[in-house]
Amino acid sequence: MQFLKRFARAKLPTLGLLIVVIVMVDALVGRWLTPYDPMAQNIMKRLMPPLGVDGGRLHLLGTEALGRDILSRLMVGAQVSMLVGFASVLVSGIVGVALGMIAGYDDRRIGRAIMALTDIQLAIPFLVLSIAVIAVLGPSLWNLILVLGLTNWVQYARVVRAECLTLRNREYVQAARALGASTPRILLRHLLPNVLPAVVVISSLLVARMILFESSLSFLGLGVPPSIPTWGGMISDGRNYMANAWWVAAMPGLAIFITVVAINLVGDRLRDMLDPRLKQMEG
């Protein structure tokens, strides 16, 4: 509670937090609140502009190429986009933190090998990895999350390793080791709690980027199947209509923009509060 109060001292990030909460609530319950069935097609009333009225019913944000209601799809799309954002960050975080802690605690061979792995990972185009995953596991939402997770763990690994390198020589860690604590125990009990603030901050900023990455993958035809509405997929579907039906791509674009700005505002604030040093690590 106290933390929230401190957070609320900055006005803009508080607005950001509010938006993030609204989007999350929408992601959870939005599917029951939509004005239309987000899947219901009617190609005879396609590309209706915002505020278009059909049969006495209002399409607040217009309709897309197959006549589906854009507002309804945005509301349901929030769920998938948020899921992609948070779940892929979770995957990245688990992989990155685990490898980073091992590399930071053991600075010898394993540690160096892990650091080399981060350089290798950076050099492999995400397209290659993503096609390999899709070829083996098939195209699906969960595999998309896996791809995004596996291409973004490097940042965690580097930051966590740097933290661990300084932490492992602290007295309490040395003491624990002298008392015979096992390595996993030291990592989990003594190091993990201390790297968590950094992890929280990276995560909050990475969620926003993951939502953008998802739209890039959709653009390249490697996103989730088009009937599942995601914000990124909706922009990508709408790009051929930008010249004559701007709202198809602009509405999801706006949704992403507002949400990403809000998440970034929250992330920045968290960074300032939790760990002022961390800004050196961003990439």
Partner: protein, 305 residues
């Protein structure tokens, strides 16, 4: 110092080797090019014959040994689609990409550094807010969306700039803007907050107290210290620029390596993908080496860490 450089070099070779192994197997997991390359009315027998001729039916381990053996002699193989040496295809497109990325990086620095400095010095001013808005907008749009918007507005509507190709400096403007957007945002935010922190530190206050001209203090002392974290990020950003170039080059029909790569990947032109990725790996490793050297120049204390 020589020992240090040598160990870094060995490390770099290790990374490039690791990349070559990873990409060799990953791209082959994604399917083989025979059916893609032959016309749709090819028969199954045609496809099988082609696969055997090309050696795609051999065990992956044997294919890898073959590839490695030739790679050690500098031969990265023939492109299937272009029927030309893969390395040549990549290298002949490097200058165009280098041109675009350096213009984008320059643009990012030209916009972000002044914005960050004035923002830090005059915190809360209109300029500071402009900088914040730019950085927030820059990192919150998908880059392909920004690219298409630029084309629609500046080329299609106002006919101000060519929408595609590489013919003179005008054709670099839009791709450079869309490529630089994200980097500009990151550098502005980062440099601004480092500057604010440094400007509040004791030694800057002392310097100012001693009556040194404030311009001198800002440029000589504060910027130098604030630049260290920025250089780190710049190193990572060059990797991001190369990655971002894939989509940007595709949209603006820019003849660089990103466009070659995306087509090679979707056509499973294995040798070209390998040559591209190994080239990128070398660039990233070399840039990391340069970044390390910059650290040493900017802050001698860091040399030990």
């Amino acid at each position: 110092m020589l020992g240090y450089l040598l160990s870094r070099l060995l490390y770099a070779i290790g990374v490039v080797f690791g990349v070559s192994v990873a990409v060799f197997f990953l791209i082959r997991i994604g399917g083989d090019p025979s059916a893609l390359f032959l016309p749709p009315d090819a028969t199954l027998a045609d496809i099988a014959r082609f696969r055997t001729e090309m050696g795609f039916d051999r065990p992956l381990s044997a294919q890898y040994l073959d590839f490695m053996g030739r790679a050690l002699h500098g031969d990265l193989g023939q492109s299937l689609r272009y029927q030309e040496p893969a390395l040549r295809l990549v290298l002949e497109r490097v200058p165009a990409t280098l041109q675009l990325s350096s213009v984008a990086l320059l643009l990012a620095l030209l916009v972000s550094v002044p914005l960050a400095i004035t923002g830090a010095v005059y915190r809360g001013s209109a300029l500071d807010r402009t900088g914040l808005v730019i950085s927030m907008v820059g990192e919150s749009f998908p880059s392909f969306w920004l690219s298409i918007m630029l084309i629609l507005i500046l080329s299609q509507h106002f006919h101000m700039l060519p929408a595609s190709g590489n013919s003179g400096w005008q054709s670099l403007i839009m791709p450079a803007i869309s490529l630089a957007a994200y980097s500009t945002a990151i550098i502005t935010r980062l440099l601004r907050s480092s500057m604010i922190e440094v400007l509040q530190s004791d030694y800057i206050r002392t310097a100012r107290g001693k009556g040194l001209a404030s311009g001198l203090v800002i440029f000589k002392h504060a910027l130098r210290n604030a630049a260290i974290p920025t250089v780190t990020v710049l190193g990572l950003q060059i990797g991001a620029l190369l990655g971002g170039a894939v989509i940007t080059e595709q949209i603006f029909a820019y003849p660089g390596i990103g466009r070659l790569a995306i087509q090679a990947i979707s056509n499973r032109d294995f040798t070209v993908v390998q040559a591209f990725v190994m080239f990128t790996a070398i660039v990233i490793v070399v840039i990391n080496l340069i970044v390390d050297a910059c650290y040493a120049l900017l802050d001698p204390r860091l040399r030990k860490g």
